[in-house]
Amino acid sequence: MAASCDYQSEKNSATSMTSEQFKAIILRHQPAMQRMAESLLHNEADAEDAVQEAVIQLWQQREGLDKVTGTEAYCIAIVKRRCIDLLRKRHVTLPVDEHLCDPPPDDTEESYEKALSMVRRLPPQQQQAILMKYEELQSSEEIARRLHISLPNLYTTLSRAYTTLRELLRKENE
């Protein structure tokens, strides 16, 4: 029994260590995996499902994952395979390498910080409305309720925020 306990604790410690390393790899490559899935499936929810399936498959193969050189390419290849499986089930055919035509989206941490700093220069109510809509992904009704304004007033506030942002971007580019 002692032997089985030792075996179990050894197994647990090995698993936890691997899971932390595994999490780091997934966090690092998740944006690229999501991008690949969305470019192939053209649907955010399906892309999320494909990435989750890919993560499960990667977890099952995690023992050899640290030996892989170029983990991002490997993770993306797994996602691509899951997407192709999904498309095959739906009898959908895609032109070869269609995803290569898509421009790479600007979703780096640097561009996010830049966009956020731009939004923080807006007046308080406009700033709140924009952040609730795009950062917290709230519905218009929920934002209006939280800001204690009517829906038409929210649209006016958002419209003003867009105009202010356009002006800020124009000044930035000059």
């Binding site: 179990q8 999501q34 600007d106 966009a115 939004v119 649209y155």
Partner: protein, 169 residues
């Protein structure tokens, strides 16, 4: 719906899309981390009882095989039958003598009676208790035989049990 959400220019859309994509990715990453935690937890708490059940099942099977091996001579005595020749064997020609093999075997058997296997009578139990014990042993093996042997062998075993029981009574 009289009020529509205002449209923006491409640059502003790009900026807001960056914030939106980041927010969505943060949520997706949280979901993926939760998924990994669940996978790790299921790997940690995988029960050990299937391993022990497997070992126990293997031990039981070894025991059954050992018992069956010990009883095998007695079963062989009970079920020994002379070989049945096929039509093909009946008409096969013996290369040495040039006569059909069956005829050659019959000819040979006149001089060497040991070459023909004779059914060996089973040792009949002498008391009702022995009959009961014998039947119990056979019933235990019967379950195994039903899975391992063909139906004819099982029927032969059962017929032998009935015959020995009648003889003992």
């Amino acid at each position: 719906m009289t009020h529509q959400e205002p449209h923006t220019d491409p640059q502003v859309e790009q900026l807001l899309s960056t914030i939106e994509t980041h927010a969505k990715n943060v949520r997706r990453q949280a979901a993926l981390l939760e998924l990994v935690d669940n996978l790790a937890a299921s790997a940690k708490h995988r029960p050990l009882w299937p391993y022990w059940a497997g070992i126990a099942a293997a031990a039981c099977m070894a025991l059954v095989l050992a018992v069956r091996q010990n009883d095998a001579p007695q079963m062989a005595m009970n079920t020994a039958q002379p070989p049945v020749a096929t039509m093909h064997e009946d008409h096969a020609i013996d290369a040495a003598s040039g006569i059909p093999q069956k005829a050659a075997q019959e000819k040979h058997s006149d001089t060497d009676p040991i070459s023909i296997p004779q059914p060996v009578p089973a040792q009949a139990p002498s008391s009702p208790e022995e009959v009961y014990a014998f039947s119990e042993t056979e019933s235990g093996i019967r379950v195994y035989c039903e899975n391992q042997c063909n139906a004819d062998e099982v029927v032969a075993h059962m017929e032998e049990i009935v015959r020995l029981s009648i003889a003992a009574l």
